[in-house]
Symmetry: C2
Subunit: 582 residues, 2 copies
């Protein structure tokens, strides 16, 4: 953990024109001559200017003497958001005029000389108003939005947290920061990978979604402990709060097991955690995938509040409610419930304790842990469906309750949680007879289930682990398969993949691959949750819109056919596709 103060060893004023930042001046500086550089935030005609830089605000007193008339005129004529440098003396504000809402509010600077470094045009809106404008406008004028104290804070906190992570990994634990290529080969099933045409006709690089293959190859190469703050790419079209490029803290180690990687990551989070966000307790709690689905109906539970799912099947085994009885009549049919505290605000379909048939009432309340005034929500069906529905309703109820003023989740709490023992394979969506990897094909099976790999692979748990924070997945990793034959079996026999595309990896595993595992943390999401931002766009300097556009520069943009011919491609307009066979 680090505090802002412990990090302020650095010199913010080395190498530059100023002697101090605007925000650092205090009463102890009274009497000193200072030179400041900043932006004109506010001006009261003839009297003072409020000057701003990244570090804060300071009040500048204009000279009133006749001899300084020219200096005064310059400063009075200047437009807001112009950039100036002033030299002057720090003085105490007159008695009774201190501003307790301003950290520099006890003092002001009486200007002796000043220079306009760059004047600003009249902006279409005040910079400080920008935060209230539409996000499209904010992104169009991102360079103005970046001047806000909130974005300055977010980007600086991000930089500090990443630096602390690097110190922990590189300086404390001997990890090697290795850069891996982003121009790579298309991975099997890599449907979300951007393609990059090369100068070889018909041949394309892909921008990988993660350095997965490279990090494993580094372990085969004996690098032992690798990390990278890795830029990754995923083309998901228009998904809210996703970015076509994003950053992950990518880690891989040799000769390690799952528990050790979890311990490493707990130490990493603790070491990089900003003190101002409270303390973090280690170790993080851990639950299995089965428990998460059973109690929360989701594999990334928000444990800041209860409302756990309970099984109330037995209550309704002989109930006089036909759809419940029908459901229970199916194989594996269940009735499950969540109890919404003080829940009469909810509009969902519900059975309140009061409406319940008398005979079942007390038994249901006991089974579901409900009290009078709570609302019970029931679902009936197969366990997966029943749980998943309640998992969604649980989160929606929480949002509804909070919107009605019920205190449910502590928004200053940071509930880290490990979710472990995921299934290794899942039935393919659309073709449930076949299996696909729950995460990726390089995940190792759980040692206790390895004997099932050939007979009942669908029952095998994996050595995958997710790190969850307040209901958001912020990381995931696994122990990898290091045995070539097992990897070949998984790819070819279980997943029916074309192993030819991964021949280099199989050969590498067969050339002395050490046991290894790793994890990737989603940096954008982690920082957004840490600073309490509602979107990852608030922790990225130049984010794309949810349609993947850069609204400032207007990217992506047209490219001339001549430029495209270098890459042997041409645009096929949707309407004309039929005319030109591929």
């Amino acid at each position: 953990m680090w505090s802002k103060e412990t990090c302020l060893r650095f010199h913010l004023n080395s190498f530059v024109f100023r002697t101090h930042t605007c925000g650092e001046l205090r009463a102890v500086h009274i009497g000193q001559e200072v030179t400041l550089c900043g932006w004109v935030q506010y001006r009261r005609q003839d009297l003072f200017i409020v000057l701003r830089d990244f570090d804060g605000l300071i009040q500048i007193i204009l000279p009133q003497e006749e001899t300084a008339a020219q200096l005064k005129k310059i400063l009075c004529d200047i437009s807001l958001e112009s950039v100036i440098t002033v030299t002057g003396t720090v003085i105490s504000r007159p008695s009774g005029q201190a501003n307790p809402n301003m950290v520099t509010g006890e003092i002001e600077v009486r200007v002796q000389s000043a220079e306009v470094l760059n004047s600003s045009r009249k902006l279409p809106f005040e910079t400080k108003e920008l935060v209230k404008k539409s996000e499209a406008l904010r992104m169009r004028y991102r360079y103005l939005d970046l001047r806000s104290s909130q974005l300055q804070y977010n980007l600086r906190l991000r930089s500090r947290m990443v630096m602390r992570m690097r110190e922990y990994l590189c300086n404390l634990h001997g990890f090697v920061d290795v850069e891996t290529p982003t121009l790579f080969k298309r991975t099997p099933g890599g449907a979300k990978e951007f393609v990059v045409p090369s100068r070889e006709p018909g041949k394309f690089y892909s921008l990988p979604q993660s350095p997965q293959q490279f990090k494993q190859l580094l372990m085969v190469g004996g690098l032992d402990r690798y990390f990278q703050v890795a830029r990754c790419y995923r083309d998901e079209g228009s998904k809210p709060d996703r970015q076509p490029e994003f950053t992950q803290i990518d880690i891989e180690m040799s000769f390690v097991n799952q528990a050790s990687i979890q311990k490493l990551i707990e130490g990493l989070i603790e070491y990089s955690w900003p003190e101002e966000k409270g303390t973090i307790t280690l170790p993080f709690p851990s639950i299995t995938y089965a428990e998460a689905m059973g109690s929360y109906g989701v594999d990334k539970p928000d444990t800041r509040f209860g409302m756990k799912i309970t099984d109330v099947s037995e209550v309704f085994r002989d109930a006089d409610v036909s759809f419940l009885r029908d459901a229970l009549g199916q194989p594996c049919g269940v009735v499950r419930s969540i109890s919404v505290p003080k829940g009469v605000v909810s509009v969902a379909i519900f059975y309140s304790a009061d409406r319940q048939q008398n005979g079942e009432k007390s038994e249901l309340c006991r089974a579901a842990g409900a009290r009078v005034g709570d609302v019970l929500i029931l679902t009936a069906g197969d366990p997966n469906t029943a749980n998943a529905a309640l998992g969604k309703l649980r989160l929606e109820c929480a949002t509804i309750l909070e919107s009605k003023g019920v205190a449910l989740r502590d928004h200053n709490a940071f509930n880290f949680l490990w979710v472990v023992d995921f299934p290794l394979f899942l039935p393919k969506e659309g073709n449930p007879e076949e299996l696909e990897s729950a995460h990726h094909p390089f995940t190792a099976p759980h040692p206790e289930d390895a004997y099932l790999m050939c007979t009942e692979p669908q029952k095998v748990r994996s050595q995958h682990y997710d790190l969850v924070l307040n209901g958001n997945e912020i990381g995931g990793g696994s122990i990898r398969i290091h045995d070539m034959e097992l990897q070949h079996y998984v790819l070819e026999t279980v997943l029916k993949e074309d192993t030819g595309l991964l021949l280099h990896l199989l050969e590498a595993l067969d050339s002395g691959a050490p046991p290894h595992g790793g994890i990737a943390l989603g940096l954008d999401r982690l920082i957004a949750l840490t600073v309490g931002a509602s979107s990852i766009r608030d922790v990225i300097a130049f984010p794309k819109s949810f349609r993947g556009r850069d609204l400032m520069s207007n990217a992506p943009d047209l490219v001339s056919p001549e430029e495209l011919s270098t890459y042997h491609i041409q645009v096929s307009q949707p309407s004309s596709q039929a005319h030109y066979p591929p």
Copy 2:
């Protein structure tokens, strides 16, 4: 400056199966029980195994007791490059059997238990032989080549140097590490930018060659001091020792001048410099572009040796050598010379002092600083051509001399050098009537020459600076134009660029842009020169071949027409281009 020892605060054995690395064991460990993990480097039947990890080699003594027969058999049957873990006791080697060539040569480990973690197939060659094989084979089996001590050293040194740079910038000087997008808009004249098709028909992102626009926009946004270890892209087709993606240490500051940025970078290099490479003297020497061209015939002089260019025009003003006299008869015609010490090994066209006409001999030797036995090389023509030719010959002579055993350049010397006062514009290649930016259009003019901007822009020097190391450009930067009107003038009037593509930047400059400047260091080249690698490929974990191919995975590769249709593109084979109008 940092030494390997001061950085060894970290725990290389935290979180893993081993207790020690193979390379760290010494006589002080005698008597300790240790657990090691590593690769079988060498085996002498029945007696010992040499085990290797990233940290070094250790000799493992096999048990000879009857009771350990099974353990012995396992270790005797194992193939080279298999991965094992052994537990045993560190013992002293028998008297007289210590190996002084091995840092662990005083000791060995008597194995008590062992496990084969992964056996290796029989490799097509021994890993330690790989360094002698063709580069194509090394890249095909990069994961084996990475096991070499040289590549391990290079990648680990790179990681440590970058970490030290981050500490200097982030912890000591308050720089903010900001990640900027790599999916961006095509820049004007960005002929070397890879394109990335988007899901919008006909619209493309570009992979930028540098974060130039973003770093300037961050300054407009008040970030004050930015740095990034930035991935950049440049499509140059097949150029030796270039990579389609590369890394630069990217830096930008507000309220700064050229001298301050140079001082910042000198401090950065000093702070990150590995002690084992000797000390570095600050400040770095600085010469102007004009001096560099005049004395060395190149803008990135290798100052590890002399052989400077001298003007010998006066000697030949009335000489009886027609081509010299003709050249001197032209306007600006000159005769220039370098003196190659002990140079009779050179095969270039030359006039040796001995062959010179007697009348001019002593005068020429005096003017050129030549001594008997030296070879003088002369060029005649306009100064630029004469100098450039001698600049190339100077380097070629150095290589030839060294190949003949003459000690010329100290290959342990690191001659850093600033080159300053570049021209702001150069005549366009192919159309010398027009001007193009010598570096990029955002470079500010030299304040002393600003008055020439409207009348004689070709005479204006810039505030650009290059950092040169042993004749290689390892960095370049400039003070930028922060005045919108000047930037508009440069783009539109001088360079005839379409300002529409840079409207966002012009608007930003007009919205309160602070004076700012920065630099970018080519990390790959800097590390390669530091470790003495002949190619940047030796300091990159997974480099591309000089044709831009990944020989391990076989990228770039074919992509199906269906996958391309997502991006509304199709391949136009060179031969079929004519059939399908664009």
